[in-house]
């Protein structure tokens, strides 16, 4: 699910209506902690495949895979899983351009797949990602890591690893900025007056 605030806002940082929740060092610490949680839960890095959901889940997945690899001294495959073709709201908008899907060479069969997204909101994106994963193979287990959980779930889906629990109102939007996409790292909350309706 594209969280409101992902695409359109071009407000300068710190302008009226924006609150900075995490800065680059907070994000780095959260990712390091999540990486260690994943390793701890998985009892090592064996069979892990980290798949990011475009757009910003992909660089997050790469960072997580790199951190896990560093901690365990092994290379952890990272990739991208676009869910556009599996969305439940395709008919509500004109057709969207697809984002790249890149499944690591070893595939996902019998692996432990960690899905990574920047913001967990309604849960519909993750529902779509689980369906997409079904068509690719049969992982042994699927886990979910998100940088921000902003609440307002519309489906029975919960994350396994969360960078920051961030209770929000529906009139607010959460804007995640990442160096690879936006040129810097930050998580902002934008209220309706300064962001999208």
């Amino acid at each position: 699910m594209t969280t409101p605030g992902h695409d359109a806002d071009v407000l300068p940082s710190h302008s009226r209506g924006e609150r900075r929740i995490l800065d680059d060092r907070d994000i780095a610490r959260a990712l390091t902690r999540i990486a260690h949680e994943i390793v701890e839960h998985n009892k090592g890095a064996d069979d892990l495949v980290v798949l990011g959901i475009p757009k910003r889940g992909v660089p997050l997945a790469r960072r997580l895979a790199a951190r896990i690899g560093e901690a365990e001294g092994t290379a952890v495959p990272a990739g991208a899983l676009d869910i556009t073709m599996y969305r439940d709201d395709l008919r509500l908008h004109p057709a969207r351009a697809l984002e790249p899907t890149d499944i690591p060479a070893g595939g996902v069969d019998r692996k432990v797949v960690v899905l990574v997204d920047d913001v967990l909101f309604s849960g519909r994106t993750i529902r779509a990602a689980l369906t997409a994963l079904d068509d690719i193979g049969r992982p042994r287990a699927v886990r979910l890591a998100v940088l921000v959980d902003r609440g307002h779930r519309e489906l029975p889906i919960r994350p396994d690893h969360v960078g920051k629990n961030l209770p929000t109102s529906l009139s607010e939007s959460v804007k995640v900025m990442l160096d690879e996409v936006d040129g810097n790292d930050a998580v902002l909350v934008v209220n309706a007056a300064g962001g999208r309706p």
Partner: protein
């Protein structure tokens, strides 16, 4: 994107690039998967309306629609109401009444898809799968996709299209699309098989094949369409073959990394020799595979979304 795809000229550079990029993702999404099917067009109906025989194009569209989970109905001229003299309008009204979301139409008359799309008879999106000697936009898109895979960006790339341009909707759509994508197109054929007004097309023309080969990044051989020829356009098949056929000697004139395309079906020994058609720089079989991805992309972009 427009709601219909009737002509390669309907696509500006951004649209064309969007279709080609989407096709590349379709390839990624289906190649080597346990399930080669996407749920995207579930519950949508695509009608293949073919007034002219074409097994490969119809099959390609059918497979593309099915890979996107659409329901596909084939309406062929033979053995249907179309062969009993039903008019295009009545056929269209029938399809509308049946609730078709997309109509893929091939017709022997140039302009039939345009009529279908703009007459107000149906609300569905119309995709031109070849009309008369006019256009065949998805063939041009699959050719451009294939070229892009081998040449990278098409900007300033030299593409030589050889043969029966006059009767070729493939050539017309290709010239329009390749020009939009910035390629440098040269049409080569006997004067009798170059259409009147070709000097106004966004391309160059030549009656001689050899000089056009040395600098070509790709050469596309057109089928000699005997079924459309009701007059003597060239003295004999042998003479045509000698002057415009791609044989081993001419193949040797091409730069080392140039590729050979053919929209099929080929007349081996006529416009292309078997030796060239089967060489490792011939991408003719790959064109067929790419056709499915490009048609998936077109169907997705036209049918998946709702109104803005």
């Amino acid at each position: 994107m427009n709601r219909h795809l009737l002509s390669a000229a309907d696509l500006d550079r951004d649209d064309a690039t969007l279709v080609l990029d989407t096709a590349a993702e379709m390839a990624q999404l289906t190649e080597g998967r346990s399930v080669k099917k996407l749920p995207t067009l579930r519950g949508r109906a695509v009608v293949n309306l073919f007034f002219e025989d074409s097994t490969r194009t119809r099959t390609s569209f059918e497979l593309a629609a099915k890979r996107l989970s659409a329901d596909v109905v084939n309406f062929s001229a033979k053995g249907s109401s179309l062969s009993k003299g039903e008019s295009l309008k009545d056929t269209a009204l029938t399809l509308e009444a049946m609730g078709a979301d997309g109509v893929v139409v091939r017709h022997w008359a140039s302009g039939a898809p345009h009529r279908l799309a703009h007459s107000g008879w149906i609300r569905s999106s119309v995709v031109n799968a070849g009309d008369g000697t006019h256009e065949h936009p998805t063939q041009a898109l699959l050719d451009a996709y294939t070229l892009r895979r081998h040449l990278g960006s098409l900007g300033a790339r030299r593409i030589t299209i050889v043969g029966d341009v006059l009767h070729s909707r493939v050539a017309r759509s290709n010239v329009l699309l390749l020009a939009t994508l910035g390629a440098d197109v040269t049409l080569v054929g006997p004067p009798t098989l170059l259409p009147v007004g070709v000097e106004n097309w966004p391309c160059q023309t030549s009656f001689e094949l050899d000089p056009a080969l040395a600098k070509a990044d790709a050469v596309m051989m057109l089928r000699v369409q005997r079924e459309r020829m009701n007059a003597a356009f060239f003295p004999s098949a042998r003479e045509y073959s000698r002057r415009y056929g791609l044989d081993a000697r001419r193949f040797g004139l091409l730069p080392e990394d140039a590729v050979v395309l053919h929209p099929g079906p080929m007349n081996r020994g006529m416009e292309i020799t078997a030796e060239v058609a089967d060489s490792d720089r011939s991408v003719i079989v790959e064109q067929v595979t790419n056709g499915i991805y490009v048609r998936m992309a077109v169907l997705y972009l036209l049918l998946a979304g709702g109104p803005p």
